[in-house]
């Protein structure tokens, strides 16, 4: 099962991940990434993967496909 990690120190709050897969990614009130789950289900996996590639500060990574 897919596992993802978000590094809030690297996050620049572009919101790309939230736009791409809101079932997995959110922003806190300060705009920093917050994971709603670190194990996206099969339905979300593809978009979560896309979100990781779009993150402009490489704050997101896939630990396990």
């Amino acid at each position: 099962m897919m596992r993802i990690k978000a590094d809030s120190d690297l996050c620049v709050g572009s919101g790309q991940c939230v736009l791409t897969e809101p079932a997995v990614f959110a922003q806190d009130d300060d705009g920093i990434v917050a994971l709603l789950t670190d194990h996206p289900d099969d339905q979300s996996a593809r978009q979560a993967h896309h979100a990781v590639t779009l993150c402009p500060s490489r704050a997101l990574s896939i630990l396990q496909e």
């Binding site: 919101g15 922003q27 009130d29 705009g31 896309h50 490489r58």
Partner: protein, 407 residues
């Protein structure tokens, strides 16, 4: 491939005139086909690395070994003259010109204002604003109408005014000054516009410090006060950046987006058939036009190897976002405007920690404008051939000066 190819591109000035008139200049393609990263000569003298490839461009912009500090020696300021350069160096840097921890400290307090959730709350008001200006346009007793003046400029201008707490009655003033600043006309005019706008914003921030309102600038001032770090000059810089970046760019994209869709009726038909496709169409239009090309310049602070090329510490790098967004390795048949292609990975907003702070506000404004305009004015058409329009070849940000339309 470690050999750099010194190419004579001494005529290159950005933005350059685009063929047909939408495509990037043919020199871009020639360079990209040669290599994703080439050494070029600058019109301002000296050399810099020109990054054409999408993958390589993203790699440079995300890499902390490349500095954004325009005050550093060797920074490739190829679009600026000596007087403007002196002025930049005399001012405290804007967020755009900061690196690492300093940049993070400046950007972090503001990003909460631009979250997807915060922006969604603005949607109804932006819809009202768009409807209001379209009402006025439809009520005009004369046609054709210049869409730039009727819609493209006033919408983002009013939106950013309300967000920042800037009186909209002053919009003629700051609009004309920021247009002047972006123009490649005489540096005297540019410097005067810069100074006048800076003085206006300084005064505005001073007023907000004593008489706060319910707006972004007042909230930032209050936040700094709570932390005991009220930084007047920094706040003026922030306001300056948000106000100037927040309307001219979006305005140009509104005009070019409408022009792009009207010039590709089959693509417009796709959007009209299903408004759910508009967000995807907006991404494609952002990619296709990439209006802020060549503003993503950096200076290597260490030796870096990227795309097989060794870039030495002290060398300048220009990432051409336009060329990257027309890189066939990232976008199949890049010359085709294809609103269904899925172009989210474009770098029209840049990439890396400096990626446009207001990008999601811009996306929302563009989506609302395109949806509303083509729904309410289904017979909208150009009142002049696209090739005859006055394109902004004399400006740092691409666009059209006028867009006559009728219906």
């Amino acid at each position: 491939m470690t050999e750099s190819v010194a190419l004579e591109l001494t005529g290159l000035k950005l933005p350059v005139e685009r063929g047909c008139p939408f495509a990037p200049p043919s020199a871009y393609e020639r360079l990209r086909e040669q290599a994703p990263i080439n050494k070029i000569h600058l019109t301002s003298g000296g050399e810099a690395w020109w990054v054409s490839g999408h993958e390589e461009g993203r790699a440079v912009l995300v890499d902390p070994r490349f500095s954004s500090d325009k005050r550093k020696d060797g920074f490739p300021l190829f679009m600026l003259d000596a007087a403007t350069l002196r002025q930049i160096r005399s001012q405290p840097p804007l967020m755009l010109g900061m690196d690492g921890a300093e940049h993070s400290a400046a950007r972090r307090p503001v990003i909460g204002e631009f979250t997807v959730k915060r922006l969604a709350a603005l949607r109804p008001r932006i819809q009202d604003i768009v409807d209001h200006f379209i009402d006025d346009m439809l009520a005009a007793d004369r046609r054709p109408v210049d869409l730039v003046q009727a819609l493209s400029l006033p919408v983002p201008s009013l939106v950013i005014c309300e967000l920042l707490g800037v009186p909209y009655t002053d919009h003629d003033f700051f609009q004309s000054r920021s247009t002047m600043m972006l123009r490649r006309t005489s540096s005297e005019d540019r410097l005067r516009a810069f100074a006048e706008l800076r003085a206006y914003i300084d005064d505005l921030v001073t007023r907000k410090e004593s008489d706060p309102g319910d707006d972004l600038l007042s909230r930032q001032i209050a936040r700094q006060r709570r932390q005991g770090t009220l930084d007047h000059a920094g706040m003026v810089g922030l306001a300056f950046l948000l106000l100037t970046a927040g309307h001219e760019t979006t305005a140009n994209m509104i005009s070019l987006g409408v022009l792009g869709l009207l010039s590709h009726p089959e693509q417009l038909a796709v959007v009209k058939a299903d408004p759910g496709r508009t967000p995807m169409a907006v991404e494609e239009l952002l990619r296709y036009f990439t209006i802020a090309d060549g503003v993503t310049t950096r200076l290597a602070t260490e030796d870096v190897k990227i795309g097989g090329v060794s870039i030495k510490a002290g060398e300048g790098v220009i990432v051409s976002t336009l060329s990257a967004n027309w890189d066939p390795a990232a976008f199949k048949d890049p010359a085709e405007l294809d609103v269904e292609r899925g172009a989210r990975h474009h770098i029209a907003f840049g990439f890396g920690p400096h990626q446009c702070l207001g990008q999601n506000l811009a996306r929302m404004e563009l989506q609302i404008v395109f949806d509303t305009l083509f729904r309410r004015v289904p017979t909208l058409r150009l009142a002049a051939p696209a090739g005859d329009l006055p394109f902004k070849t004399d400006s740092v940000v691409y666009g059209v000066h006028e867009l006559p339309v009728t219906w």
